[in-house]
Assembly symmetry: C2
DNA sequence: TCATTTTCTGGAATCAATCAAGTTACTGAG
DNA sequence: CTCAGTAACTTGATTGATTCCAGAAAATGA
């Protein structure tokens, strides 16, 4: 787990000012991958005390634009954020409880798949979401 | 293009009551693949006259649940519907203008990809969205 | 120190989508 | 064909995540 000074360096390298809300958000997303904005707000407030929800929305947007965070929004879910960027990994989502797990990309580079017919598009990414049932929900259903 | 009686048959085979809003929605989605709810509402109203937006939402949900329509929602887009179901095809989306095109699946069956590590999930579908720039936006940018 | 960016406050607005209650109309049984 | 039961539709309100606003205060970095 990166330390506060690691987060400071990340922000500086991205030409972003170092502020406590930004460090707290970066830290929260590192500690809670695939968390939604509201959960992140809770973690940040537990860490820092009062922080406006607007600040967290602003920070999440700035960090995502800078490439420090990645935003994902599977169908039926609110926006979620993760700190694992740049490795083109994919996700598996439980249809029953919504839990999300990482799936390493066998290729690693984007785009990792080639379209059968690209219709003349210049494709830079292949996003893959696997849908299914997680072990917990499978067990619960079969009881 | 299927006719009104084709749509009636499709509804009956799905054990759904045959109503004019349902036929109009089915027809609109067949004629306008990947249209959003609001566009569909417009087409339906041009066809039938007054129809409540709630009716269109209800119909889209019922038809999707029955497997007659498929709902897709790429990031940054509202829900879109298409009548091409059951062939597990994929989509390519333009980051610039949002246009969506179909991409045939080389495999055809779901799930068409195997996750490198499924974390114990029972996976039933692999959803693929290719992101890039459409020919029109590529041309416009390079001018 | 100073100019600039970020955050705070605290509302208010958006907009797709859903809910609720009452009315209409489709359909299968008779 | 008729009719009742229920599914579907209408109308109007509401939700909920996210964004916008605007002025004041705080923090950053040069
Ligand atoms: Mn992930
Ligand atoms: Mn399609
Ligand atoms: Zn689950
Ligand atoms: Zn385009």
């Amino acid at each position: 787990m990166p330390t506060a000074s690691d987060f400071q360096r990340m922000l500086r390298e991205a030409s972003l000012r170092v502020t406590s809300p930004r460090i707290a958000v970066l830290s929260a997303v590192h500690a809670h991958p695939h968390a939604d904005t509201d959960s992140i707000l809770g973690v940040v407030r537990a860490d820092l005390g009062a922080v406006s929800h607007q600040a967290v929305y602003d920070v999440l947007r700035a960090l995502t634009a800078a490439g420090l965070l990645r935003r994902i929004e599977p169908q039926g879910s609110v926006a979620r954020y993760e700190a694992r960027v740049g490795d083109n990994h994919h996700h598996v989502v439980c249809r029953s409880c919504g839990v999300i797990a990482d799936v390493d990309c066998a290729v690693g580079l984007t785009p990792c798949l080639t379209a059968s017919d690209d219709h003349g598009f210049t494709i830079d990414e292949a996003e893959v979401i696997y849908w299914g049932t997680c072990p917990g929900c499978t067990t619960a259903t079969s009881l």
